[in-house]
Symmetry: C2
């Protein structure tokens, strides 16, 4: 049978990462390719205890249909936390120009996808950092948007290039950014650049979509204000999730945006999945209010601080100096750029043949097929031994290919 697919979907390919994920079930592979949080980051015992309580206390509300906006107590708890930790959440009552509204979504990716769906027509342009998160890029493409990239520098997106891009792209609707511990590059945008980006977007009438799934995972350096906290004008949509701090498999995220925008996003969510899993929304709420989320996050940070430190030390020791890599202050990812002499796809193939899985950097190019000579590495799920051994192997492969 031949089927006539929609134009939007006809070209869309499965995410390279999700495909790699399937192959990661082979336990002999060292999984530097995964974007999964560490298994130790899930507070299993507390979740088990709180789940029993839900079944005992309010089973029917946990198993019955809920509202599309999300479980109200969880929405309120998330709002309170966003205000406290990130100074997010404007209200007219507090003297702001507009009201923000927070809703629960089925993982951060849904928030990203819905934002694009309500704003972009076929052929509208979404601008992202180059490289950027493939799940978001594909979400934009699935809505018929054209994705374009602006180079990501050590301190964030290249603002001159961004300004030039916006001047030349009248159909630009959305600017997608992961300012903190960027996926895939591990880079954090400086405060100065965040202010500049906000100003550029405002002047060009473009909505910023700030994706911050790793924001609480800082293990070095100092916090930098979110772009959303600067949003006097109501031009920023903020997305995040519990995936990296409580459970990725439960698919609970949240989205904060000016009320008018948010109401449209709710309509779009309603037709996708009606609402997010009600039981786990209640579970998140109970965890936030009955357990010590901050203490738990500190534990998670300690895991990644150690793992990232181990990987950076190993890379310092093992990689030839021609390979350059980022030094993240949080999150899950390191971005490694190869010298011209090493062809990226061949490097990834040879590493995989030696049982180390890396993600080809080309997966993260906003413009598909653009040249890319980098790879993404994650330290989140590998054991300490695997990190040391994996770095040794990828160093060895690099030296081979450099002809050393």
């Amino acid at each position: 049978m031949e089927y006539n697919f929609s134009d939007k979907l006809a070209k869309l390919k499965p995410s390279a990462i999700r495909e790699i994920f399937k192959s990661l079930t082979d336990p002999s592979i060292i999984a530097f390719a995964a974007g999964n949080p560490a298994a130790e980051s899930f507070p299993v015992d507390e979740l088990a205890r709180l789940s029993s309580e839900i079944y005992a206390e309010s089973p029917v509300s946990a198993l019955q249909y809920g509202t599309t906006e999300g479980y109200m107590p969880l929405r309120r708890a998330v709002e309170a936390r966003l205000k406290e930790k990130f100074n997010i959440g404007r209200s007219v009552a507090a003297g702001d120009k507009y009201n923000d509204m927070t809703c629960i979504v089925s993982g951060g990716n849904q928030g990203i996808e819905l934002s694009c769906k309500v704003l972009c027509n076929d052929g509208d342009v979404v601008i992202a950092e180059d490289p950027s998160f493939i799940g978001a890029l594909n979400a934009f493409r699935s809505n018929g948007a054209v994705t374009l990239g602006v180079p990501l520098r050590d301190d964030g997106i290249d603002t001159d290039a961004l300004e030039a891009m916006l001047d030349s792209q009248p159909k630009a609707k959305l600017l997608y950014l992961i300012p903190t511990f960027q996926n895939p590059a591990g880079i954090t945008t400086s405060l100065e650049k965040r202010r500049k980006v906000y100003d550029i977007a405002r002047r060009h009438g473009v909505i910023i979509l700030e994706d911050n799934p790793y924001g609480e995972l800082r293990f070095a350096g100092n916090d930098i204000p979110t772009i959303k906290s600067m949003d006097e004008d109501g031009i920023v949509i903020y997305c995040s999730s519990f995936s990296k701090i409580l459970s990725a498999g439960m698919r609970i995220g949240y989205i904060t945006a000016p009320e008018t925008l948010m109401q449209k996003i709710v309509v779009a969510k309603q037709v996708e999945d009606v609402h997010t899993n009600q039981f786990f929304q209640m579970l998140c709420y109970k965890y936030m209010t009955e357990c010590d989320l901050d203490a738990h996050i500190n534990d998670v940070r300690a895991i990644y601080r150690r793992k990232c430190g181990l990987m950076l030390d190993s890379l310092d020791r093992e990689l030839p100096k021609e390979l350059k890599f980022t030094r993240p202050e949080g999150g899950l990812f390191i971005w490694c750029t190869l010298p011209e002499k090493i062809e990226m796809n061949e490097y990834v193939r040879r590493c995989l043949a030696r049982k180390v899985a890396l993600v080809p950097g080309s997966a993260f190019c906003p413009v598909e097929g653009a040249p890319c000579n980098s790879v993404r590495m994650s330290y989140s799920t590998a054991t300490d031994e695997q990190i040391v051994e994996g770095c040794r192997i990828i160093g060895e492969v690099a030296r081979e290919m450099l002809g050393e």
Copy 2:
């Protein structure tokens, strides 16, 4: 702030039912408007026990990212059940022309939305029974499709009108049907009509989307084969869910379609929510394999048999004969058509003023704004006393409006 929404979403309104749902938190309202399953239909004790087992046995896989296609053991269990109960699932190995593939989605609505997304460009036409399920109609509209309706008769869609519609609509891509215990009408399509519809769709090169969320809830009459079971040519997508038999709030559904089509649907799902809640997928699987799902479904059927019988008896007794209503053999809904003398919106308003909530039938019109003088009633969540009292009230309001 003014935002420029996408054309698709600019016009889309929140579902009237979901909005009514929000008002149903008022316990003094008799909720004939709800589409919620009965609270008694959730096997709370078993789900609680099995949940504890998951935390004890495999917490990390339950809380970690999963594959977009769904938890493999659950997919296999659903496939086996679909084969056994509905003769669904073709395979080349068994001598069929193509392979079917089953994936897990986040509630039946996501399956419907994804099917449209992968097939329809802006302006393509989806044909539905008139009336039809508003959640599906809005899902089609959110993808830029135009929804058109073909009258639903007592034995299913009007096949002559369908043939004429398809002849005149070259952009028709999808034919959306709920052949069993239709929402909102409670009507079941006859076997003869199912065969006819399949033949018409095949000849016109249109894909059938068969939605069957109530299929297991038959409490009278005999089973009729699904359209998917007739699908020699690979033109039927089949959607269903666990919402009406295990839990609506968990948002677990499934979709079966020819492999080529299904692979595209998986790509589309990946960008929406990556995958469905992993814990509850495992929970469904455990329930299917460790508990007696058939016995549980028999209990649920008994609940609705009794409630539906009570409502039909009450309507027979209370409603003036000018009001006509359907007599469902399963599912949750009764469709009541008012005489010309009673204006539908005014009737709904007056009933609500007397604390009985009905859904205005106009919500279910494939063509928005088309005239409709019917209402949808559900017997699923009201208590026995509420059913009797609610029918008395809506009868009284009808007599008032008829000037009796």
